[in-house]
Amino acid sequence: MQAEALELLMGAGVRVSAEALASRRLAVEDEGGGYRFIFVKPADVPVYVEHGIADCGVVGRDVLLETEADVLQPLDLQIARCRLAVAAPEGARRAPSGMLHVATKYPRVAAAHFGARGVPVEIIGLSGSVELAPVLGLADCIVDLVETGRTLAENGLVVVETIAESTARLVVNRASYQLKASAVAELVNALSEVVKRGC
């Protein structure tokens, strides 16, 4: 997502030098000096933005749904398209009344999804390689991000249900949106032009 986002930004006239990207620094300036970029894990993007340490951020909708982040989302960047889905071993049949064991990196999304359907579930929080869980018998199914479905297929899993579509979003801190209104609007407008051209 980072490479795609930087490409969009380049289209909007915000360029980060290859040299800066190649360095191991986690905070770099763009070539114009108008923006400072910080590179953090996806789940940390809303945290930095909510606290106003970063005015804006680029993060997937999946992360926003899971963290229930209180940030503004003025623009869908239409990149990193994928979906949050329920996947289970091919041909598996769930016991009609039994408890469903769900392995996931998205415990809140999973709990809300099954909760809304009145399905009793035990959520098993994992931090990676979720596809392994049903294969090894840790869980009946998984809730995970699916892009091409290849990893699923290679582990004998199929998508049972799509929970939500996800793309990368430009997110903005609520206070920055007001206090740096013109700078934020400029960035949003420039990026939305690039996104439109891309369609």
Binding site: P46, V47, H51, P74, L75, D76, R174, L179
Partner: protein, 373 residues
């Protein structure tokens, strides 16, 4: 010490030294402004029936409170807000008092579940005022002028922004679009998140063109000075929204006349707290704070819960958020500094105490030398 005693519960903290003095100075400055506008201080019970807050704040907000049961089994809460309690007092204790009522307060509030990651604190301090029993534009403008004066006294004017909106703008549109509760909430969330793309999708799915949709789609981005109101006006075709925009225009004219146009901004995309507020709403932002530091508006329906429907308007400031900004900026009015205390030394305790007493009588700060100091 066992771990259970040294550990502090999440979201709780101490304040001391310079920060504690600064907090008190900020609180004092705000209360002095309220006093200057004829507002009487009121202190509300720290523990009250949960039902009060459920009525006063709405179920979602109230459910964040610390809750426990009274001896008779009734549900109690540790005060999560002050306004509910003030509104009840107006309808009960002050039922016979002449209107309007002007109250101000500085009280600690508690929330067991914070609203967001950034809001990790579970104890806060609200400094605010309420003007109850008067409707129309005058009380709204009085409260806005008071907010502006408080910000000015705190030296924050130049880095502040107060956004104003009117709940009728959105409510009129939602009514015109004929939305049911669920669709209305969906639309509100999208406007609140400034999700222009999501708004367009939602309105396109409903396949309703025309002015209401055009305005709804742009609502999330209509902000600015007077021109934002003019832009909205051109798109409106329902009475409720028109009336709300007219009310905002009046507010804006007065704001300009008061020379406060640099501080204020119209933000038609501010649609938080719509089930609570009934007219003007405003939010206060300060550079250096990652979320808003205060806000308020008109809440004409609230007092009806306590048996007496009357117009009311007010606002609160988050003392901790403001103190944090000022502590970092070194631009506080008094910066919480005090003159150093004079050490009182000498052989005999009674001599030292006598000297200290004399200095205290002259208003000096003293620090008594104790044995072994």
């Amino acid at each position: 010490m066992p771990e259970s005693l040294s550990k502090i519960p999440g979201g709780m903290r101490y304040h001391f030294g310079r920060e504690a003095r600064l907090r008190r100075a900020v609180e004092g400055a705000a209360l002095a402004v309220f006093d200057g506008w004829g507002y009487e201080e009121i202190a509300t019970p720290a523990v009250d029936y949960y039902a009060l807050f459920e009525r006063g704040m709405g179920r979602d907000e109230a459910s964040r409170a610390f809750r426990f049961t009274d001896a008779d089994g009734r549900l109690l809460a540790l005060r999560p807000d002050v306004t509910s309690s003030v509104a009840r007092a107006a309808a009960t204790l002050f039922a016979a008092a002449a209107r309007p009522l002007r109250f101000c307060y500085a009280e600690s509030v508690f929330r067991q579940r914070p609203r967001s990651h950034a809001e990790w604190k579970r104890q806060g301090r609200q400094v605010g005022c309420e003007l109850i029993g008067a409707g129309g534009p005058a009380p709204d403008l009085e409260v806005l002028a008071i907010a502006a004066e408080v910000l000015e006294r705190l030296g924050l004017r130049a880095r502040c922004r107060v956004t104003v909106n009117h709940v009728g703008v959105f409510n009129g549109l939602a009514g015109q679009l004929g939305l049911d509760d669920e669709a209305r909430e969906q639309l509100r969330r999208l406007v609140d998140a400034r999700d222009a793309g999501g708004l367009e999708d939602l309105l396109a799915r409903r396949a309703e063109g025309g002015p209401p949709s055009a305005l709804a789609a742009r609502l999330s981005r209509l902000s600015g000075k007077r021109e934002a109101l003019a832009a909205a006006r051109a798109l409106v075709s329902n009475e409720r929204t028109s009336a709300a925009l007219a009310a905002l225009e009046q507010v804006w004219e007065t704001v300009e006349a008061l020379g406060l146009a640099d501080l204020f901004e119209v933000d038609l995309g501010d649609v938080a707290g719509l089930d609570y507020y009934t007219g003007l709403i405003f939010k206060i932002y300060v550079g250096g704070a990652g979320s808003r530091v205060g806000g308020g508006g008109r809440y004409d329906e609230l007092t009806a819960n306590f048996g007496r429907r009357e117009p009311a308007v007010g606002f609160v400031l988050d003392l901790d958020a403001i103190t944090e900004v000022l502590a970092r900026a070194d631009s506080a009015p008094e910066n919480g500094e005090t003159t150093p205390a004079a050490a009182v030394e000498g052989e005999s305790l009674s001599g030292r105490l006598l000297e200290a007493k004399g200095r205290r009588a002259r208003g000096e700060r003293v620090r008594l030398a104790l044995r072994g100091e």
